[in-house]
Symmetry: C2
Subunit: 454 residues, 2 copies
Amino acid sequence: MPQEALVQEEDLGLLVDLYELTMIQAYWAEGMNERATFSLFFRSLPQGRNYMLACGQQHVARLVTQLRFGERQIDKLRSLNLFEEGFLEWLAGFRFSGDIHAVQEGTPVFPQEPLLEVEAPIAEAQLLESLVMNYVHLETVLASKASRLVNAAQGRGVVDFGMRRMHGIDAAVRGVRAYHVAGLTGTSNVLGSVTHGLSAQGTMAHSYVQAHGKEDDALLAFARHYPGTTLLVDTYDTVAAVKRLIERMAEDSSLDIGAIRLDSGDLEYLAKTCRHLLDEAGHQDIKIIASGGLNEHSIRELVVNEAPIDGFGVGTSLGASSDSPCLELAYKLTEYAGEPRLKHSPGKHSLPGRKQIYREQEADGSYRCDHLTLRDEQAPGTALLQPIVLQGDFQEAAMASPDAAREASLDSVSRLPPELRSLVETRTYHVTISDRLHACRRLAESRLGLPPDD
Amino acid sequence: MPQEALVQEEDLGLLVDLYELTMIQAYWAEGMNERATFSLFFRSLPQGRNYMLACGQQHVARLVTQLRFGERQIDKLRSLNLFEEGFLEWLAGFRFSGDIHAVQEGTPVFPQEPLLEVEAPIAEAQLLESLVMNYVHLETVLASKASRLVNAAQGRGVVDFGMRRMHGIDAAVRGVRAYHVAGLTGTSNVLGSVTHGLSAQGTMAHSYVQAHGKEDDALLAFARHYPGTTLLVDTYDTVAAVKRLIERMAEDSSLDIGAIRLDSGDLEYLAKTCRHLLDEAGHQDIKIIASGGLNEHSIRELVVNEAPIDGFGVGTSLGASSDSPCLELAYKLTEYAGEPRLKHSPGKHSLPGRKQIYREQEADGSYRCDHLTLRDEQAPGTALLQPIVLQGDFQEAAMASPDAAREASLDSVSRLPPELRSLVETRTYHVTISDRLHACRRLAESRLGLPPDD
């Protein structure tokens, strides 16, 4: 019986779409081994999003430098009867020898801006297509969703309860880092948190209440096991449960309850009612946590309506970024053998050349606009694409800790024009295209005999 | 530097939400170790879906029987300063000792029907919550989406191009099996296909065309490397590319081209135009494959409009089931110590007890309705919940091969009332609740002093 459960590191080289392997065998057979640049970008923002937070690029860049094809992987490819022995030997000796430039994890990015560029002999760069896209797509989608929740909560904590809805265990573990970078305040996910050196948070489930005969017995037992814990009060009737809890606290002053959690019903009404009951009984220190089908819109409504909620737990809408689970990331050839290349399919045009993004600030430090240029150009502002792999060597300094990436990301988001932090589409952040980049596109078009695309 | 890339099998026990561990430590401390039943089900169908295909339950059941906590995992939990040594010892000795009943992979399921039920001492069953939900959620969501594409294509092939949009590498590999079970005809995903013993399919990317100076040189080079291959013809101008290709085929009769792929533009118009051009030149044998932002609705439109397309490649909409990436799966305690248990939160009621689903057929073999009963009841039809783990032993016979699961699934979907295979919500499949199950609910409610919930 094959072990189907988990992807092993030595199998990561097989995480390709078949056409990558057939194309690079063709390059190998044709002796096409000039240096190519592939650019990872998106053409438009998903509906309702004003920015995306780039995430995952450091992570996958490090993996790329470790990518190898072992005997077992080569045997599997040999069994497909598509590949020549000489090409399989080339794969067996594969080591990524190129460069990767990327923006920092947690950087807000906009359409046409490369999140990452790979420069290497064309077969090497082509081989990475699906792996790089899969990694950056997932973490960027999840970090961007988390950033919206952070914006909506306006300083209240938001905790990830999404593991059960996340798509598989790799997403569940990597997502925790992306959420942290974007500013969530915690996660219930144990493996995700220990993997990234973060702390896990937790309350209790309805099953604990159900398993005990009486609800208040269950709540008190749990509070005695875990002083300062959060008690789930909605298994049968929220207000009745809170009233009984207050009675039991009056009988036993040693009880230490940190918070109650509301998980269903009219959360605004219940939060106001429970806050009133708790305050009246002198329990101003007991916090109220809300969960149960929340998303950024319902959180914003609760915040705007001044529901006395101290923190939010979000599961389903976060775990797969349910309103927008995909980003149309593209990984496109933009230069080959020193010459600009582009694509001209309807609605899928691309900009040629190796690029740089300059982010220009106002005098107060807020972001004014970006300048998209060729790599060797100068423009006002800070250059966002920095080398993270050089001649096949991962630059360890490029791998920020989760806390450092989070700090940088929250700072960046705070510098965006404020309308961009809205939950609905407001304005387009201005990204200029440099004259030289325009000229480069026209040159590539004219060489292909194509009409200018402006 | 920790290896953050991949989840190791020995870490799977940590794939829990923290509250599972704190709750089971409380059970352990309280000596609550009676047998519990947890039921995995959903309360309502996602918008637009008339059924879900249950998938992943066999897979996770096998993992559950292999779940262990090693020294390294125990050390990680110890470092959280939440757990007593005696409880950590209990975890170190953990072996799942219970039973799991599940429906077959690829079975159409409806609201309130258990996809799976776990019966074990309460701590064991509680520990599995997030792991079981994560596995079954992902594969059920992906298989259900794939089933819609199969329904829309009406016999034409549908190939998975979704790896780059799938949420992480675990989803990318497991999804391939779920797609196959649901009836997709292929995948471009190499690791996913070799893992499950399936074959991968592939065409070529725009980059191959772009890297070569002239488009037709690129297409011919690729066709010579891979006789019978599929050529991508939309990099610059689809119709012009096909015309040039026909000219080149006229010059070199040895060229063997299996298909052309259209990846952008008006696919119906282009398919009809290209089909006409190819037929006129005597190339009736060259097939036309379409891709580029397709989903079940656009596929149905192309099929209804008789676009001469022989197969579809689907990426983004499939990879994360983008219109409906989440299912509100619940894992709820329904029995403890032989007594029925339920939840009564607004909108989140549950049915108590250990259950069975009977699927009743019409005389012609089509499905008439389902009967949801207590486990030990009899009702007309076939009992869908079958044991896949007994006293901790995985029943290998319960793990169908991908091909066997696919055959059973396609057969089941074909027996559904035809309206249920529509892409929009049509009718509700009838699921009766047995009198004894009703009575069991009323008993549980009255014991809790709750009003009847009917």
